[in-house]
Amino acid sequence: MIFNTFSYYLFFLIPAAALYRLLPARMRPWVIAIFGSSFFLYFAYSMAGIWGSLCLIIFIWESLVSRLYRPASRWCFVGMAQSLIFLGIFKYWNFFTGLLFLHRANPVRWQGAFLPLGISFFTFEFYHYAWDRRAGKTEAGSLSEYLAFILFFPTLVAGPIKRYQDFLPKLRANPTDWCRDWERGITRILTGLVKKFAIADLMTAWTNHLNAHDLAIADRRILPLWLLAYGVKIYFDFSGYSDIAIGSARLFGIAVPENFDWPYGRRNIQQFWRCWHISLMNWLRDYVYIPMGGSRVVPWHIYANIIVVMLISGLWHGAGLNFIVWGLWHGLLLSGHRLWRRLRGVPSNHPLALLSSSALTFVLVNAGWAFFCMDLPTAMLYFRRLLVG
C-alpha cells in the first residue's frame, strides 16, 4: 500500500519535507536519512515482520562499504557484487535452486523467504553508485549525503531509479520556492492517487478474471478486453505510483527522474521502451547494454545484446518463467523492429502508416502483458483460448 495510506503522508512525507526546508543545509541529509530509516522500519515491518525491518542493516552496511569506493578501486567491484548478491539471495534463491532440482524436492529451499521492501530498486542504486565511482563519474559525497541518496523514501520502494550525480546538486541546493514546489507537488500526488483509485483499481473487476478457471469457461470474445484492462491497469497503477513519488520528492524541492512519457500510442516498440519505465531502461542501457558493446558491434551481436537486456529486464520484474518469456517477447520485438528498420529504411510519415504502426505496437505490447500478469501455463491457456477457441 504505502502511498495510499494516511500514515505515509501524516507521519513521514509532510513532517520530513517541512523539517527539511526549515533546518540548515548541513542538517538536511540527516533529516532524509532518519525519516527514510523510520519509513523503512515501519513499512517493512508491516509487510514482512521483524526480519523485513532488520534489512535496514543492508543500507547501513552498504553506506559503510561505499566509503571505500575510489576511481579504479577493487572495492567498487565488491560493492557491485554485494548488490547483486543481496538481490540474488532474497529474490532468486528459491527460483534458481528450484530449477536445479526440477523434478525433485528442493533440499536447499528457503522456507521463510521474503522480499525486503524495495530491494529491486535500491540494489540498482547501490550498483550504479559503485560503478560510477569506479569510473570516476561521480564524487563520493559525505556519508550523510549517501545515506540521504539511498534512504530517500519517496523513491525507495519502487523508484524512479535515481543517479547520485543528479541527486547530489539538488540535495545541496537551497530549496527556495516553497509555495510553488508544494502546489505542484501536491497536484502531482493528487493526480497519481486519482490514476490509482479511479482508473487502475477500477480495472480490477476485469483483470481478476485472468485466471485458469475463468479463462477456461469464458466467451473468447471477452478475452482481449480482459487483457486490455490489464494494460490500462498497469499503466495507470505504475504511472500513478511514479507521479506520487515525483510529487513527494517535489515537496522537498528535489526533482527526480520521470518514468513515463505517454508510452501508449507510440509508433514502434523502440519508442515505447523509451517512454515506459524510463529510469529502469536508462539503467539497463548504461550498466548492461553499453558494457556488452551496445550498438557498436556487428548486427547479430546487437540483436543478441537487445535480447539479453530484455531477458534481464523480465527477470528483474519477477523470479518466474513467465517474466523471462515476457522479457524474451520484448527482446524479439525490439530486435525484429531493428532488423525491419535496417531492411526497409526510414519509415513512412503517412498518417495511415503512423496510425497502423501505433495500433500494431499497442496490440503487441498488450499481448505481452499476458506473460506479465499470469503464470506461464495460464498465459498459454489464454492464447490457446483466444486463438483456437
Binding site: S120, T187, H317
Partner: protein, 59 residues
Amino acid sequence: MTLSTIRAALEYIGGECDVAPAFLPGRSLWIIRCTVWIVAILLIYAFSGQTSKFIYIDF
C-alpha cells in the same frame, strides 16, 4: 486545438509541468488549480473504498 496543446494542458493540470500553456487564461490559473484539487479529492474519496496494493511494490 492540436494533440500537443491538449497534452501540454494535461501535463500542467496534472502537476508535471510548471508553466501553463499559452492558451490557458493566465489570470484565472488559480481557479483551474483549485478546481483540479477539488475534483481530484472528490474522485479519490469516491473511489477509495476499492483500493488495492500498487503492483510494483512487490517487485
